[in-house]
Amino acid sequence: MQNLELLFTGFVTVFSVQNVLVTMLGAVLGLLIGAMPGIGSLAGVALLLPLTYKFNPTTAIIMLGALYYSNMYGGSFSAILLNIPGDSPAVMTAIDGYPMATKRKRPGQALYTSNISSFTGGLIGICILTFMGPALAELGLKFGPAEMTSLLLVAMTSIGWLVGSNPTKGVVLTAVGILIASMGMDTLTGSPRFDFGSMYLLGGVPFIPFVIGTVGFAQVMKLVDEKDKKSNNIINEKLTIKGSMISLHELKRLLPPAIRSGFLGTFVGVLPGAGATTGAFLGYATQKAFKSEEPLGTGAIEGIAACESANNAAAAGSFAPLLALGIPGSGTGAVLLGGLMMWGLNPGPLLFTNQPEFCWSLIASLFLANIITLFIALGIIPFLVRILTVPIKLMIPAITMVCIVGSYSSTNSLYGVVVMLISGVFGFLFEKNGYSTAPMLLSFVLAPLLESNMRKAFIISHGSLDFFVKSPISLVLVILLILIISTPIIRGSLKIVKNKKQNKK
């Protein structure tokens, strides 16, 4: 009940003219950027981050929340209409969304299904977040340096281990992210460290240019390969709002999988490292166990509803560990966390008690963003479809310019542009060679927290490792960490044994 009162206070803050307008602006921009093929929510949020500079911290955070949320909606547009997922969670949406748009010639209905399912999943996720966030924060208060160290190691390892096809590469970039973050000032003593004689590096590597380069500019370099691709025929067909609507029977078909996936997705989102992509995969896999009116994979409404609802619910659910424990669930979450920290918000167990205005305004803004994004998305389907016809060859110089001005504006010097350029080149090379850069961003954001907790733990224990297994919470987390690390090794060994057996036969 107290949570509802606090949420109401959050709504009072959010419902100022400026905040509502900012939420709408964030929703529109997030949708537009998210809908552009090949950009995705990670690059989208990174590119739009500098736009929040103008506002006061609360408004800026509200805008960030709306940007993040609407990007999730937008990612499905190019998946459904072009078979190019805007971000990784939309990969599953394309399986049924694209056939529904092309083979069944119902692109508008596919988009409607996706939007309504996203709304349903998101609503379930935010409702659960409202009640679970503070509870998780209370649990978080029991976390000392040893528990936090174990938890952060679990989060970093699981992202490094789960994202991408090769766990080794994930761990490599996790460590690289930590080392880059250790440049500048020492977290405990404040003494300069790894500045290599450069006055710029004394302040460390700036977050925004780093993230814009790693995902945004690297994406530009990748887009060059796709610039000659022709746009799909279906997006040249004229779509109207009325002609895109779904029938009552179709609404009844989409609601059960959307509600089911909403709960499942939220649960997945809460787990550190799992994120919206895992949520979408699990949502779709679960739907296979249930009855669908049309076979999945042929343009079934149930297929689109299951994964879209799950990925938006996971996006909302991931706010619980992000706010209560300071652990983002994905690369996009890490960028968002960086943005929140930039605005003085220190996610962690004390956030709900020390900065309730920030916290509940953000949760309230998610409710508002969910509703606003739904209406905007439904209302501007015909216009958004036109966005997809923007040729990639025009997007390349446009995004390059945004990368330059965005990174310049965050540091007010060309140092930001240089950081963006270097991180972009490495981001491109890493992605090209099968290294996912999401773990690097996550570890870059979490490294100071991990370092300070780890060092405090060792100072308290006088250098003994026993400290990490003395408390039950830390012990459970250490076991979980060992399981995460050993699972791919065991799986890989089993695969080798199986292959050997097959070769013998």
């Binding site: 080794t168 080392l179 405990l188 500019f217 060059v224 025009l394 390059t400 001005v405």
Partner: protein
């Protein structure tokens, strides 16, 4: 034979191995690892992570031998060249002129789009760069040597 196996797939883990060594060596010897009275020193954490990176990078290096070669086209590097030229141009002509000269060159002359398309994209980017960043966010972009000499 060996030459064919070397590419970014090998250079990247090699680079991260060197990075790990540099951070662990500097961390340990320059910033210190452990002090009996104080406890952990500034080099404690980077040394551990540097060693971890070195070990795991060596593993990645061996794994990379079996990876397929990933070559990038020279066109992939044009945006990099463009940013470098914009940085240089920024000192002489200022940020706005460098950015919009790049935009016009890329759209009209490199991609050979029509003047109509060029003007449309120019207008949109003008609103974003000059309107949103310059006027709204008050970002003071460099005006360049020529502007400073003239005004």
């Amino acid at each position: 034979m060996f030459k064919e196996k070397i590419g970014t797939k090998t250079i990247l883990p090699l680079g991260t191995t060197i990075l790990g060594i540099i951070f662990s060596v500097i961390g340990f010897f320059k910033y210190g690892f452990w002090d009996e009275n104080i406890g952990t020193l500034p080099g404690f954490f980077p040394t551990i992570i540097g060693l971890l990176l070195t070990g795991i990078s060596i593993l990645a290096l061996f794994q990379s031998i079996n990876d397929e070669k990933n070559s990038s086209r020279k066109e992939n590097w044009y945006p990099v060249l463009a940013v470098i030229l914009i940085i240089i141009g920024n000192f002489i002509f200022g940020m706005y002129i460098s950015l919009f000269a790049f935009l016009i060159y890329w759209v009209r002359f490199y991609e050979k789009c029509s003047w109509k398309e060029t003007i449309v994209i120019f207008t949109i980017m003008f609103v974003i760069v000059v309107g949103a960043f310059g006027a709204w966010l008050n970002i003071n972009f460099p005006k360049g040597l020529i502007y400073n000499l003239l005004f």
